[in-house]
Symmetry: C2
Subunit: 227 residues, 2 copies
Amino acid sequence: MKYSEFLGAISDSRMDICQNVYNEYKDKIKIKKEKTVLKNLEKIFDATLNIGIEKGFQAMTMRDLSRVSGLSMGALYSYFSTKDEILRVFLSEGRKIIGKILSESIEKEKDPVAKLETAVEVHLFLTEKMHKWFYFSYMEARNLNPEEKENAVQSELYTEKLIENILIDGHKKSIFVETDNSLAASVIKAMLQDWYLKRGKYAKKNIEVDQYAEFILPFIKSFYLKA
Amino acid sequence: MKYSEFLGAISDSRMDICQNVYNEYKDKIKIKKEKTVLKNLEKIFDATLNIGIEKGFQAMTMRDLSRVSGLSMGALYSYFSTKDEILRVFLSEGRKIIGKILSESIEKEKDPVAKLETAVEVHLFLTEKMHKWFYFSYMEARNLNPEEKENAVQSELYTEKLIENILIDGHKKSIFVETDNSLAASVIKAMLQDWYLKRGKYAKKNIEVDQYAEFILPFIKSFYLKA
DNA sequence: GTCTATACACAGATAGAC
DNA sequence: GTCTATCTGTGTATAGAC
């Protein structure tokens, strides 16, 4: 699959996240008109990601957020009751969307090699499309409260487990070599994460996401595929 | 090489960093007795890393640092004139030490395969020994001023260039396959970084640094070594 | 539904006693 | 060389006008 094909096949994830936030939190949000809420949630979402990536969520002040989002301080607090809630809500609703897309894509494929290819490609393409969310999520997860931090860790492990299961299945079917599949999944995950953590570097090297996928897939296969 | 052998061969990096800080900044530091300065710099260094890893440097207050380090607010400001200076100084002096150890270790080896093995092992072992510094450095680099941030980026690229040069040399000597060596170095770096970024995860999986090295070396070699 | 003005807490930094 | 007490700015959050 190419990134361009992927783009045509999925919906606007930013809108999906805001819609999810509305559905989940409409009782707590003081504004009642759905259209107004969605419009402003998107402004808050974009501003939070942009400032958060620029200087970190802790360093972002509510005055910054007000200025960049175009909403007043008072308006912001009609949507979220504390600054920390903004972080918690956008991260948790994002995780739900992403977990769903990834697992559904893998389930569609039958054989282990196709599953592995799909897992790698969909992960790279998702993080390319939502790179701001992913980078923000990675860097700010430690600012969550202990309970939510645990959810974030579990979500990471879930992705890794998806990959591990593909490797286990492939070995059972005598397609992949025998190895420590848990460790192998971690290492593959590390390569996938590097794509969104070092976006600036790859941009400078003129590497696009399709090229990155075409590089790491043979790299992974050369180790796991039996000769 | 095993991690235990590595440990026997290098000096106490925490003390080295503090010694470097003293040498470089003794004119700016208000306290004059070297022994006192070194003792207190180590306290400040440890406290900064511990609190910084726990909740981030931005969220760390000077009162936190005072409490954990055991020095008063006034005393802290006799060593560093601003909070940001603490970050800047510990990161830049750490980078100097690390770059030196890594490049010297690689230079000792002659053939590309041994160089590659050494680069991987020394990087993993260094990050294992100084894992707090590395994690802190990775997460807080963006809180540096633009000039220092650029230095941090360059230092990262330098490490990557060391690996890339090994791959280029290996290909010239017909030992390694032909590939995009810049991209290859990035991907190897990603695997190396995962070790210190996901320390908690590997601890839970009961993976030690020697095991991690033993896993990723064959993984890397299976791709680069000619059959 | 959105705004401005403000309360109140706490941050970084310093002065001056010891 | 180290401490305590304090200054001043800025942060989050809210009240109440429109």
